[in-house]
């Protein structure tokens, strides 16, 4: 069984070598996943191309002609730069710039080189296998076949690596984040506040699952156990990379447990907003102390020894932009001020970054992550026991397990990341060649 699977792989592999464009099917199967057929257009940027989503695998992109052209282009660039660095006489700044570009292209060049080598090896083996007469040594044939299998799977992996190497690096990926949850507004009842608290618990669970540091900066509970808004700092490995697509409006649909609606089985809808702010390093955001106004209880009067209060809340206002941050989490005014500064820094950074992303003008936008705050990104339907992400169509069951913030959330996030990486590659391809959007399949 195993060998036939390998054989299957191998035959497809050889077909792929000889005639490109054969789409790969992956062998992964998720019984829980269902994908909706989208024919709606407005979600997919300005390209008026209806797309049917298949379970995406980055390896698919290898067969995309534009992608291949893009790779060739990169390789050409790499060759030119290498030659220049070796032979030409360059000024210091030129050399520095070229070296930087060279280092950026190195991973792609490396994988491409290995891939070419593997393909050459495969062709050699093929020629050996097919030119050999029938009465060749059985043992030798067996060995060659094994070698062929190995090289085939190697080539598969290398293709995936190549595409992965094409994904533009988001230099914010390894950052820590400030995560804020804000309850939406309701006309009545506290469905939003309850949902906000459940989301807070979910992210807390996720941070625990990923072994991240979860530090509460601000926590404002509402009545009856709900949550108005809260801010936490999550620190660890690649936090921003995992959480960057969580930002946006999340919608909840459930039948309340008590009250008139419960008896009538009427579904209530509520929303809450998650805000993800990457935490920049100190020098990324330069804040002039003169631009800040710090409000504390002691601002009035002489202060100092003549006043004794327990009020330690601090609010910092960045005067040029009007962005504020406040904290009253601890009993020490200084600690509250430090925390508020951190949040302010993150918010300022976000507003600066936000302006940068607006300036991108490709036709194909990175679908995941540039939605405005008002558009809902995910729906949590408790009465039907499913969670649906509207950007990719990913749906999962067992909402109770999902809200624990463990493996289920991780899977959804992985899926989102793959989608966004795929889009990022395609966008990079487009920018380089200004080829008008060709569907990937």
């Amino acid at each position: 069984m195993l060998s036939s699977r390998l054989f299957g792989l191998c035959s497809q592999c050889s077909r792929a070598v000889s005639c490109r464009g054969f789409p790969w099917r992956t062998l992964k199967g998720h019984s829980r996943l269902q994908y909706a057929n989208f024919t709606e257009v407005q979600r997919w940027g300005t390209n008026v191309v209806p797309k049917r989503l298949s379970h995406c695998d980055l390896g698919d992109l290898y067969d995309n002609i534009s992608v291949q052209r893009y790779v060739q282009k990169l390789m050409e660039e790499h060759r030119i730069i290498s030659r220049k660095l070796q032979h030409d006489h360059l000024s210091d700044s030129d050399r520095k710039a070229l070296l930087k570009k060279h280092t950026e292209l190195l991973p792609v060049a490396d994988v491409f080189g290995r891939l070419e080598q593997a393909q050459k090896d495969l062709e050699e083996i093929h020629s050996l296998l097919h030119t050999g007469a029938e009465d060749e040594d059985q043992h030798l044939t067996q060995l060659l076949k094994e070698e062929e299998d190995q090289i085939c799977s190697n080539i598969l992996a290398l293709r995936k690596h190549l595409i992965k190497a094409l994904v533009p690096v988001d230099r914010l990926d390894p950052s820590d984040v400030v995560l804020e949850v804000v309850s939406g507004r309701t006309t009545g009842g506290d469905i939003c506040q309850q949902f906000t608290r459940e989301m807070f618990d979910m992210y807390q669970g996720f941070a625990c699952y990923k072994n991240w540091d979860f530090e509460v900066l601000n926590y404002s509970p509402a009545d009856y156990g709900g949550l108005h808004h809260a801010a936490v700092r999550i620190a660890g490995e690649n936090v921003y990379r995992h959480l960057k697509h969580e930002g946006g409006t999340h919608r909840v649909q459930r039948i309340p447990e008590v009250g008139l609606s419960s008896r009538m089985q009427r579904i209530h809808t509520g929303t809450m907003t998650v805000i993800i702010l990457p935490q920049p390093l100190e020098f990324d955001v330069h804040i002039d102390p003169k631009d800040l106004r710090v409000d504390t209880f002691r601002s009035r009067g002489a202060g100092g020894q003549s006043v004794n209060t327990t009020e330690s809340a601090v609010r910092i206002v960045h005067l040029p932009t009007g962005i504020t941050a406040e904290c009253q989490q601890t009993r020490s005014q200084l600690q509250n001020r430090d925390t508020a500064m951190r949040v302010l820094r993150a918010r300022l950074y976000q507003s600066v970054m936000g302006k940068e992303t607006e300036q991108r003008h490709t036709a194909r936008k990175q679908q995941v992550g540039t939605r405005s705050q008002a558009e809902r990104i995910r729906t949590y339907n408790f009465s039907q026991d499913r969670v649906t992400d509207h950007r990719t169509g990913y749906t999962t069951r067992d909402i109770k397990e999902f809200m624990r913030g463990g493996e289920e959330l991780e899977e959804l996030i992985s899926d989102l990341l793959e989608h966004s990486e795929r889009e990022a590659v395609l966008e990079a391809v487009e920018i380089s060649g200004w080829v008008k959007g060709q569907p990937a399949d």
Binding site: V216, R298, S299, A302, Q305, S306, V307, T310, E311
Partner: protein, 393 residues
């Protein structure tokens, strides 16, 4: 008897610290009776207790009614702030003992006792300090003073000194010294404090924080015991203080939390608020190493006055700068000891004979004579003159 118990609880909150000897004075005419709400007969939740006491504090005109009840009840539930208590816990019924504790502590607040004294602790930067009346409660401005010292030390590390030392005048609960010690593992600290209560509390806090090996607290008055201090400390890198700096005339208008419970001697700085400040600056050159610095927290009106006084009276101290607190008020003065011009230094003498050397020493030493109004001039023998002037024969 139940009535005596109620009476005594009323009395306790009214009389506060004004107990005279062992006799209880059962007079209700001296202060208005501050009556606490009756202990609930049934069980209540923390949320309900918060509400009851907040409303009561508002009724009785107690400042910060909501925070007071929140901090007290959070403390009894084992947390520092009410936000960090789980929602579940707040809605559970309190035990009988817990309820009594809540009532006992909140009743103290009716006498305007500061929350920090009621729960006997408070946070200062990253430390939690034990606090007891009448020892002065650290203020948020002083947190900034510590930040100032730390950032200054980081910017200009004194490489010459193998051991960095700091001296605090008037350490109170030990907040400044302990905070510095915690942040600088290499630092050694000395502290002077005139109140025995404060000396004991500082030592207790040092022990609780595990810093007792690096902090030496001296029970001394910087004005009355000035002679004893000479020669006791030398080559100190940093002299830091939050001295009493209020103007005497402002003492009467202090709010009850401060006036009734905190040590007035820790607040009153004299007619112009600078009595202790001047004394510290007078003694500073004796204690400090070359280019050692003085950091003071002062009243917003003081910095220009202090600058002028130092320029007129202290040759060895240079006023470096004034820094502002987070509210934008001038709050911190930084001064530095100038390079001392010893006989080896700038007197320009080469191979002087002993008599000339002695005369040169007297000449430079006379520049270090304390100003006329300083109590240091209470000298009564030659040995003291010699030691004051730092002469060597």
């Amino acid at each position: 008897m139940w009535w005596r118990r109620t009476l005594s609880s009323r009395c306790r909150c009214c009389l506060g610290r004004r107990r005279s000897g062992a006799k209880w004075i059962w007079s209700f005419h001296t202060r208005p009776i501050c009556s606490a709400p009756a202990l609930p007969s049934g069980r209540i939740t923390a949320l309900q207790a918060l509400d009851v006491w907040k409303r009561h504090f508002v009724e009785k005109g107690v400042t910060e009614p909501e925070q007071s009840s929140q901090y007290i009840i959070a403390h009894l539930l084992g947390a520092k702030t009410i936000e960090s208590v789980e929602q579940q816990k707040l809605r559970e019924f309190l035990s009988k003992e817990k309820t009594e504790q809540v009532w006992q502590l909140c009743t103290k607040r009716l006498s305007r006792m500061p929350v920090q004294y009621i729960i006997e602790e408070w946070d200062f930067r990253d430390l939690t300090l034990k606090l007891r009346p009448p020892v002065f409660i650290p203020r948020p401005e002083t947190e900034e003073l510590v930040e100032l010292v730390l950032s200054d030390l980081q910017k200009h590390p004194r490489v010459a000194e193998t051991q960095q030392t700091c001296l605090e005048v008037g350490c109170g609960s030990g907040a400044i010294s302990l905070s510095l010690l915690k942040s600088l593992p290499q630092l050694e600290a000395f502290a002077l404090e005139r109140s025995q209560d404060a000396v004991d509390l500082s030592r207790e806090n040092a022990s609780r924080l595990g810093l007792q090996d690096r902090l030496k607290v001296y029970h001394m008055d910087v004005i009355k015991d000035a002679e004893r201090m000479l020669g006791l400390f030398s080559s100190i890198s940093v002299l830091v203080s939050n001295p009493p700096y209020l103007f005497s005339e402002d003492m009467a208008s202090l709010e009850p939390e401060i006036f009734r419970f905190e040590d007035h001697a820790a607040l009153d700085g004299g007619e112009d608020g600078q009595n202790v400040i001047r004394q510290i600056l007078t003694l500073a050159p004796d204690f400090l190493s070359n280019r050692g610095r003085v950091y003071l927290e002062v009243d917003p009106r003081h910095p220009p006055l202090i600058r002028r006084w130092v320029e007129e009276n202290m040759e060895e101290l240079r006023y470096m700068e004034t820094r502002h607190d987070v509210s934008g008020k001038p709050r911190f003065c930084i001064l530095q000891k100038e390079e001392s011009q010893g006989p080896r230094g700038g007197s320009g003498l080469r191979n002087p004979d002993p008599i000339t050397l002695a005369l040169a020493q007297v000449a430079t030493a006379s520049a270090r004579l304390p100003p006329p109004d300083s109590p240091l001039l209470k000298i009564n023998n030659f040995a003291q003159i010699v030691s004051i002037l730092g002469l060597h024969f």
